[in-house]
């Protein structure tokens, strides 16, 4: 048992924290939330230059073949910094799917560009407004001679407007099997409709109306892609847990600092028993959420059937992040509620992470099946 980073991982985390402190201040987070700009080009380029965007990819695709814990350490820091980038969606989910399900040619074509930060891909998966289940897919991919036509509607697609490619889940009409289709976001027949979420500022509905697809856009050799999708969602969930753990730690630190400094009734408010007990509970939550996240990540790393640990990590960390924000608001009071204060950036992020990629509800259900 070893519950801390090895040297390499610690260095990655440390470097990430330094980099983000410089390149990802709360002012940037705020600007990107407000859409000025919607995508943080300079930060993204910087992350590319740091090699982060290629971390999970094999060396022959320009990647670093990083171990999962290193990736988790970087993502934890992104969570701490409340990062406004599509890192998890683009690199972990979509990049992971391309690497996992793509043909050699597809990997050669897309992964290096993705790793350099030149290619933005968004996962277009959900279809029902009320349903986080990625297996509810009605979008149809229909053969038409040697090519295909794609039709359907996708919801909750992150940053679709800024993406170069959409990675669309669809059912092949003939086989009923799942296919992963790379669709240029500007393609004729693709229409984007903005959704307004309080949590994720750049969500879209994607309407696909008889979009022409050629075989090269379909990942892999035409086998059922469901196992790949499940695997990608598992990795994404584990790493979202790291982001949530990072975010909640940062919120706890901000709250502690405030509780120590803010004086009322002639003493720091952190000396009141009610405040102390709230913070003690948050600390316990945060501590265990972070452990759960890394346990899930190490299970992935070991290639073990990680569903249970991933589900626990995903649920525990998101609950923790949201609750720690609620407590933070209570202790900060008016000062933390102001638009100009940074706290609400994390509060929204907490919900963004909770709802990302099908949301925690999915994983609670998953856990039920594993009982």
């Amino acid at each position: 048992m070893d519950l801390e980073f090895n040297e390499e991982q610690a260095q990655a985390a440390e470097a990430a924290r330094r980099f983000l402190a410089r390149e990802c201040p709360a002012t940037l987070v705020r600007r990107v939330r407000e859409g000025r700009p919607a995508h943080p080009d300079a930060l993204w380029a910087g992350m590319g230059a740091q090699g982060w965007l290629a971390l999970p990819f094999a060396e022959k695709y320009g990647g670093f073949d990083a171990d999962w814990v290193t990736l988790g350490a970087v993502i934890e820091e992104l969570g701490r910094a409340c990062d406004p980038t599509p890192f998890i969606d683009c690199v972990v989910s979509c990049g992971g799917l391309i690497q996992d399900a793509g043909s050699e040619a597809q990997k050669q074509r897309w992964l290096p560009a993705l790793g350099r930060g030149e290619l933005l891909v968004s996962l277009a998966m959900l279809e029902v407004a009320t349903d986080p289940d990625p297996e509810q897919v009605a979008t149809r991919l229909e053969a038409a001679g040697s090519s295909y036509r794609l039709s359907g509607r996708k919801l909750f697609v992150e940053r679709a407007a800024g993406a170069h490619l959409l990675l669309v889940t669809a059912r092949e009409a003939a086989s009923g099997e799942l296919r992963l289709v790379l669709v240029p976001a500007q393609e004729p027949g693709v229409e984007l409709v903005r959704l307004q979420s309080f949590a994720h500022p750049h969500l879209f509905e994607v309407r696909l109306d008889d979009v022409a697809i050629d075989a090269g856009q379909i990942l892999g050799e035409g086998a059922d892609a469901m196992p790949h999708l499940r695997r990608a969602l598992q990795c994404t969930a584990a790493l979202l847990a790291a982001a949530a753990a990072g975010g909640s730690q940062r919120v706890l630190e901000m709250t502690l600092a405030h509780a120590r400094e803010r004086q009322q009734f002639g003493r720091p408010i952190g000396s009141f028993q009610a405040v102390q007990h709230m913070l003690a509970d948050v600390w316990t939550d945060v501590e265990t959420a972070r452990l759960a996240a890394y346990e899930a990540i190490t299970e992935l790393h070991l290639g073990r059937a990680a569903d249970e640990k991933v589900a626990i990590a995903r649920c525990a960390s998101s609950e923790t992040f949201v609750r720690s924000c609620f407590t933070a608001h209570q202790i900060f009071g008016g000062v933390g509620f102001m638009w100009e204060a940074d706290l609400h950036l994390w509060t929204r992020k907490a919900k963004e992470i909770e709802l990302a990629c099908g949301g925690t509800v999915l994983w609670r259900r998953q856990l039920a099946t594993l009982l």
Binding site: T130, L155, L195, Q196, S197, F198, F265, F272, G333, M338
Partner: protein
């Protein structure tokens, strides 16, 4: 024992509903939906209509032109307005006017009460300062006597309503030589007095609040409510009137009913959300909690009507209502699935984004108006007689 409203009270509710059905226009509804808690021109207009028809004085004694109605009847009235998010002047009507009747000079009453009753005058609270939140007695805004005037200098924050109110009800230090909470006085004066700057503070919960800077603002000594250095008492009296309105249930009940209706309509995987046993179980928990709050609201109002002060009840109302607001919003969004996050105006937004609005506003409900920790202290110490630490 009887938990029902009387036929007369039910009739009153119908009268109010009919009045609102007739006079709340589609335009006003649209304005409210987008106003983020700041009354727009139509809402201001409607406030004066409420005044004209005598509704604003529903709880005022008849000697001040009011209807002299019971607190239960007031509750019915305010609930009906809350259900439609109608602006009625809030604590100007329910708390500050009542405090004026109790503590103000005859001249002050003549100056303010008729205009409040007509819906022409609204007052915001100038209590909180950057260094004085829960601990109000540590405020430093100074009001110095200068012959017949006081000259006020300082800064207030979280002055909600300062951007649309005409007056401010301000607590300032009049005698720094006295112990902290003994040297304070309350003043009422127009917000357009020279030396006042109101700056917006926008919040996470969309509601706008304000900073108010006071730079040698000169007000006549007659602007003081009550005796010099009696400000803490004045504030306590106002709070006793205010507290019963702090934790209300009508909007919570409405949001819950809307959520249930929404669960009946929306479906997932071939069945409505309401057919999902886990959804049912969550809704049942919320339902029970809201009913508890409703009963506590009844109890408070009923006690007031019997001449009692519902100290613990009102604090408990505030605690229950604010924590339930957050829980309802958070659990409700989970029940609705991914679309739960969508805001009013967005495609696929359920319940016109109302749960999202409530979620974003909920933190303020918990810490505002006296934090829930302070409310629990009050229940324990003033309600249950436990000793202070």
């Amino acid at each position: 024992m009887d938990f029902r409203f009387t036929p007369e009270q039910e009739q009153l509710r119908q009268d109010i509903r009919r009045f609102l059905d007739e006079h709340v226009s589609a335009e006003l509804r649209a304005e409210i939906a987008t106003s983020a808690h700041t009354p727009g021109p139509l809402a201001r207009c409607f406030l004066r209509l409420l005044g004209e028809r005598g509704w604003l004085g529903i709880g005022w004694p008849t000697e001040y032109g009011g209807q002299g109605r019971t607190m239960l009847e007031q509750m019915i009235f305010y609930d009906e307005l809350d259900l439609r998010d109608i602006h009625y002047g809030g604590l100007t009507i329910t708390s500050l006017a009542m405090t004026l009747m109790k503590l103000a000079s005859e001249e002050q009453k003549r100056t303010y009460l008729p205009r409040i009753l007509r819906g022409e005058l609204e007052i915001c609270l100038g209590y909180t300062e950057p260094g004085a939140g829960s601990d109000l007695a540590s405020l430093i805004t100074r009001a110095e006597r200068d012959r017949d005037d006081y000259v006020i200098t300082g800064q207030k924050v979280f002055t909600t309503g300062a951007h649309y109110s005409s007056h401010i009800w301000l607590l300032a230090r009049t005698d720094p030589g006295l112990p902290r909470h003994k040297g304070l006085s309350v003043f009422i004066f127009p917000l357009d007095s020279p030396g006042i700057t109101v700056r917006p503070l926008y919040t996470m919960g969309r509601i706008r609040t304000n900073e108010v800077f006071l730079d040698h603002v000169r007000v006549p000594a007659s602007a003081m409510i009550g005796a010099p250095n009696s400000g803490f008492h004045t504030v306590a009296v106002a709070l006793d009137f205010e507290r019963i309105f702090m934790g209300k249930y009508a909007r919570l009940r409405r949001n819950f009913s809307d959520l249930v209706a929404c669960c009946r309509k929306l479906s997932r995987n071939g069945r409505t959300l309401l057919e999902d046993p886990v959804v049912q179980d969550r809704l049942v928990g919320l339902h029970i909690a809201i009913e508890r709050l409703r009963l506590l609201c009844f109890k408070s109002a009923w006690k007031v009507d019997r001449g009692q002060v519902p100290t613990a009840e009102a604090s408990a109302q505030k605690v229950l209502a604010s924590e339930l607001e957050q829980r309802l919003a958070d659990e409700g969004m989970k029940i609705l699935g991914p679309c739960g996050q969508l805001e009013s105006g967005s495609p696929h937004a359920p319940m016109e984004g109302r749960l999202v609005d409530a979620w974003l506003l909920a933190p303020m409900m918990r810490f505002g108006g006296g934090t829930n920790e302070i409310q629990r202290d009050i229940i324990a110490q003033r309600g249950l007689g436990l000793p202070r630490a």
